[in-house]
Amino acid sequence: MVLLIQYTLLFASVLILVALGGCFSEHSGVINLGLEGIMVMGALGGALTLKYISPSTPAILIVLAVILAAVVSGVVYSVLLAVACINLKADQTLVGTALNMLAAAAATVIVKSINMAENPDNVSSTVQYTQTKKALVVPIGSFQFNWFMLVALIALILAYVVLYKTRFGLRLMACGEHPQAADSVGINVYTMRWAGVLISGMLAGIGGIVYITAGVSEWKFEVGVAGFGFLALAVMIFGQWKPINIGLAAILFGFFRALSNVYSGFDFLAALNIPGSVYNMMPYIISLIVLAFTSSNSRAPKAEGIPYDKGSR
């Protein structure tokens, strides 16, 4: 039971971080379908930090270094989306998809090359970080508290404050609702959209490293992040682009994702003898159902997905 709560909170943290990332980007008017790819890049940055940092470093420094690395990788990678979608007015769906594929391929190539350079017989796509990974968790009884849970909570509160209580947040949202109006009162729409995309890169980057370190085993970079970036988008839609609702939605989705990790530990679930694939499918099925019920009255930012062109009316 403790294990179920632990995994629920952990996967909910991932979803909160990434969905908030999507939320910032969409409020500024850019649909970020590349979240999945940004997660992979953030995960790569974090994982490599875990690999190369000395295990004797104080735990808190390891945590901070990992977060910093994930943030930097995520932000740098999201620049590719910002340039293409904001300045060059490319198709946002196409660019997002390209970034997802690019991240999975690039991360696999990088990890494999590093492994092969160390040992020509090692052609796996995993990063070794068993020792340093222990720094991320603090055992409280049988519950493994993970620092990233705290990070997600802070991000959630900050997102609420920034979006609704600051000048920056309100201006950001104006750019996603009616960019022409925002521009007419002197807000630079391009700058705001850049800010939205870079913030989403930052949050999704952290989400990526949380996701791959959540499980027990080491992560294979070949598989990317298994559609989690898109689950986060479903969470965001279910949460109607509002931080608090996103937090609640993330816990619901996190629960179903956690079930697939721990179902065999529950006697009554194991006795039902349902194949593991069914549990694996569960989060995706739930999100389809949820989307079907929530999308028709969605409160999506009105101008999202439309490149802003100063000259058009």
């Binding site: 060059l88 660019v95 998809t97 391929a105 052609v123 694939s277």
Partner: protein
């Protein structure tokens, strides 16, 4: 002098020429970035490695062997073309069918289940794949047109649902010692696609079947539907301006659903083209969605969103993907080909910008030339 300038202008101004130029530019930049990546990994063999990727089957010294492996590349290019057409057809209606990957998975599941478990002949298996892929497409279409669910997100969800369902479905017909499904040829030979003697052209490569010419025929058919029929016109109108299409009496909801059914069916048939040739077996423990559907996105945009262009683009993408497998596995990861394809798709996002820029440039030059001419007269 002036007349040759003008003819050059009008040549560059043709949309087809611009698309081809843009595609070639994307390929060159993509390969260049790939080459840089190879240089970073290991500078010594990088030049040889990029040549290996480009040569693909030409690395074989004899013509017979090269033809045989050309056959293998074509066997995989056919399903890729089908996935690319699936995405393209939907894109014309303004729908981004990223669910093609899942529709492909559904088709693979239906085709293999029909062939291995129910022991059906190939034509029935092909039909089953068509329907399975189509049903996956219809789900996306219904969700999109009646419940306003974004087709990209529902498509991705269905990709994973499809993957796990097919893994479960096919676990009954797998080899006892491996996670792979049993060979189609060993259980039910009637399920193999007929070759009609095509294999003789490719040094008796038994995987070469009617799938290859059929895929090309389908591409031509799609071209005709889109450019010559009322249905094709309605689809394109829905893609360009949904509300205008609705206002002028087109049933846009129905069109969305039919479009996604056709898209799904195309991807499903694509899977049958591969798995009913016996070239590949399905691994029931695979934990990621096959990349065929995603590579289709690369092929369709590289092909300039034109079915005929896509034939060549699909071949090219498969050519470098197959070429990647000839790399020295202890120095370079074969995923470098996926990396190059991904760069190419990313660059395709700039194609519109490129065309706009080119057209502006041409217009300016023409105006300048005109001014010069008039000035000379005076």
């Amino acid at each position: 002098m002036g007349s040759s300038d003008n003819s050059k202008n009008s040549f560059l101004a043709k949309p087809a020429v611009q698309s081809i130029l843009a595609a070639i530019l994307c390929i060159i930049i993509g390969l260049f970035v790939g080459y840089i990546a190879l240089l970073i990994i290991n500078p010594k063999g990088a030049t040889e490695a990029i040549i290996t990727i480009l040569k693909n089957y030409f690395t074989y010294p004899t013509k017979a062997a090269a033809m045989k492996y050309l056959g293998n590349t074509l066997v995989k290019a056919a399903p890729l073309l089908m996935c690319a057409l699936s995405i393209q057809f939907c894109y014309q209606a303004g729908l981004f069918n990223i669910g093609a990957a899942g529709q492909y998975v559904a088709g693979a599941g239906a085709a293999l289940f029909g062939a291995l478990s129910l022991k059906l002949p190939w034509i029935v298996c092909l039909l089953a794949a068509l329907i399975a892929g189509g049903v996956f497409g219809i789900i996306v279409g219904l969700l999109k047109s009646y419940l306003n669910v974004n087709e990209v997100i529902s498509g991705i969800m269905l990709n994973w649902i499809g993957l796990y369902t097919v893994n479960m479905l096919l676990s009954g017909v797998k080899e006892t010692a491996s996670p792979y499904t049993v060979q189609v040829a060993s259980v039910n030979e009637s399920a193999l696609l007929p070759s009609l003697g095509l294999e003789k052209l490719f040094s008796n490569n038994k995987y070469v079947t009617i799938a290859i010419p059929l895929a090309i025929l389908v591409a031509i058919l799609i071209k005709v539907i889109l450019s010559k029929t009322v249905f094709g016109y309605e689809i394109k109108a829905t893609g360009m301006a949904k509300d205008a299409a609705k206002y002028s009496g087109m049933k846009e909801k129905r069109n969305v659903i039919i479009t996604l059914f056709i898209g799904g069916a195309l991807a499903g048939i694509g899977a049958a083209f591969l798995f009913l040739s016996g070239y590949e077996q399905w691994s029931v423990t695979q934990s990621s969605v096959p990349s065929m559907g995603f590579n289709g996105i690369a092929a369709t945009f590289l092909g300039g969103l034109d079915p005929i262009g896509t034939i060549f683009a699909s071949y090219f993408i498969q050519h470098i993907t197959s070429g990647g497998s000839y790399l020295d596995k202890n120095i370079y990861p074969s995923q470098i080909s996926d990396f190059i394809s991904a760069i190419i798709i990313y660059l395709c996002g700039f194609v519109l910008f490129f065309k706009l820029y080119l057209n502006n440039y041409l217009r300016n030059r023409q105006e300048r030339a005109k001014e010069r001419k008039e000035g000379g007269k005076r």
